[in-house]
Symmetry: C2
Subunit: 350 residues, 2 copies
DNA sequence: TTGAAAGCGCTACCAA
DNA sequence: TTGGTAGCGCTTTCAA
């Protein structure tokens, strides 16, 4: 049914080897022969059999990507970018969504390993590093995305989370906020980094979190973030040091936070300014347009794809390569106080 | 490096064939032998080589999915659902994003065909049916998602777009709207179906679109929908028959529409009620929470996955199977007028 | 410049 | 119940 090298060889009275060489642009083929072969290939709409090729070369021309949630725009953007970039080089991308479930993630990694993907990209939900060891055993190169593991050296591409926390918190300080709280995420590197940035930004202005002003949304990861954010903020507002600025772990959380503030009869940003992270689409259309730190997910995808392609070609760097992408603050109404000078430096003109 | 059947056979003094049979749960294997083999497989963490298996069986245990835009929550949800469902049965899913570009889509289809996927799922951006013919030539079963082609019979799973238009428009009528406009999408089945539903709902109430009240966002597909919706609505408001209700092709368009209305100093829903389609996440958090027709994308994904698995097992239905999922209206503030009786029937109590 | 032979890891078929 | 043989479609190696 489908054309094979053998068919072309017979049609043209040549050997299979010759056809195979033409297929791969091998140099030592006569110009005349090459043309005849290419013509026949086109006529038959010949497509090489990847399975047969993989069996010999040991390469599958396939890349695997595992994300916690494909519905999350951050991961969707990364997936899209990687898919487009690697396809240009002839690779196809397996994508699977682990639903924030570590057990499911392990299964998916195992399945992709069994398929002998040439590279694996993982935005992991794991708590331990164990499953990555298993990938290493199989000698399949891999890249971690977004979430890191303390003291574990490997290829990594993600946003500079400390910079995220710094940017957001510094901005709130500049807007005149004096009591800045942080609704933090679970015990993963992203949340830890953002918390650290928040702390450092405060410290740089000789401030520190007030008691109860660092509050966690619990282990809920990203989905249900709005509900967790709402609950956390209700607690925050009930405490005695009511904050006048809140930096939220991510945008869904920030949505919950804003709703809690508005439900309490307070105003955003006048009473409490809010900054999130992720810069989700449609931020402009919210009840109060949300200021947010953009993680530059497109760039993360591009860089990850480029690194993946290198690894796929066997170009393993001497040491694992870690790339931190610079985040960018997008100021909208939720944190912009017109009566404040946006840049404190300008308070003392020279 | 990686264990093969041959290794296990040698270790145990058995033949490769025996091991292969154990692997596939072939019945005629001694209980004792089976146990020994399974034990050794576990010890070596044996993983069958898919390439070798595919080469013989002609099946790749692989499914291909092409969507216009993975960032769009509708397609992301479908992709996620399909990925999860087919993985349960041992299939892996290639996902690629065509960026609403027909040429790119064709390339991606070609690449997946070359990989001999067992089934192909496509939410197409094409204007013609040509590339599907090519899939048929290769005898690879396929399913169209979301968008149909008039007079072209094939496996299809999508929402009932006429019902979408009916639901939305009927609701606006019940909210007391007298001059209902429609910001329609491009010339694809989804937009055509929704327009038809809109028309029918009006006709059922002895109404018809006023001149200029069906306006198109142009060929822009889904991305940039908000800008196109804004522009279309500005025109709508400038005309002489200002609408008091607008049914929008999708949610991004509806966001643009709402912004245009608010920018014009009018109120939503008091002056103009708005309904979208897609029920995007965070609708609750918008400036005016958006009423929207939910396309039940999760169900579309589940049904598509089930059909794909059947097709992958060679169970081709006698006739192509087309499934229309029932949409559901979610009423929020953008279209709810408290002073209107929601159900006109109740206006005349018995 | 061309091609014969070997074999990648596995499964199908049939014989023992 | 077990296993030998053949071969899937291709690439690699080496000889002509």
């Amino acid at each position: 049914m489908v054309a094979r090298l053998k068919d072309i060889a017979q049609d043209l009275g040549l050997s299979v080897v010759t056809i195979s060489k033409v297929l791969r642009n091998h140099p030592d083929i006569g110009e005349e022969t090459r043309k005849r072969v290419l013509k026949r290939m086109k006529e038959l709409n010949y497509q090489p059999n990847f399975a047969a090729r993989s069996l010999i070369t040991g390469r599958s021309w396939t890349i695997g990507l595992v994300v916690p949630d494909l519905l999350h725009p951050f991961f969707a953007q990364i997936a899209k970018e990687i898919s487009v970039e690697v396809r240009k080089k002839g690779y196809s991308l397996f994508i699977s969504s682990s639903d924030e479930d570590p057990a499911l993630e392990q299964e998916e990694i195992a399945q992709l390993l069994a398929r002998r993907v040439d590279v694996m990209l993982i935005a992991s939900t794991q708590w331990t590093v164990e499953s990555f060891r298993r990938i290493e055993e199989q000698k399949i190169p891999y890249i971690l995305l977004d979430r890191q593991f303390a003291g574990f050296e490997c290829n990594f591409v993600g946003v500079d989370d400390m910079a995220v926390g710094l940017l957001a918190t510094k901005h709130l300080i500049e807007q005149g906020c004096k009591r800045i709280a942080h609704v933090r995420g679970p015990e993963i590197s992203t949340a830890i980094g953002r918390l650290e940035g928040y702390r450092q930004a405060l410290a740089a202005h000789l401030m520190a979190p007030l008691p109860g002003h660092v509050i966690s949304i619990g282990p809920s990861g990203d989905h249900m973030g709005d509900k967790a954010g709402y609950a956390a903020t209700v607690k925050l507002l009930a405490g005695k040091n009511r904050p006048d600025g809140i930096f939220c772990f991510n945008d869904p959380v920030a949505l919950g936070t804003m709703r809690a503030i508005l439900d309490a009869g307070l105003r955003v940003p006048d009473d409490i300014a809010v900054v999130g992270c992720g810069n989700l689409s449609y931020s402009d259309f919210l009840r109060v347009p949300l200021s947010s730190v953009d993680q530059n997910s497109k760039m993360i995808g591009k860089i990850a794809a480029a690194l993946a392609l290198k690894l796929a070609q066997g170009k393993t760097p001497a040491r694992p390569k870690s790339t931190l992408v610079t985040p960018e603050l997008v100021v909208r109404a939720s944190s912009f106080r017109a009566n404040q000078r946006p840049e404190p430096e300008r308070a003392r003109p020279s």
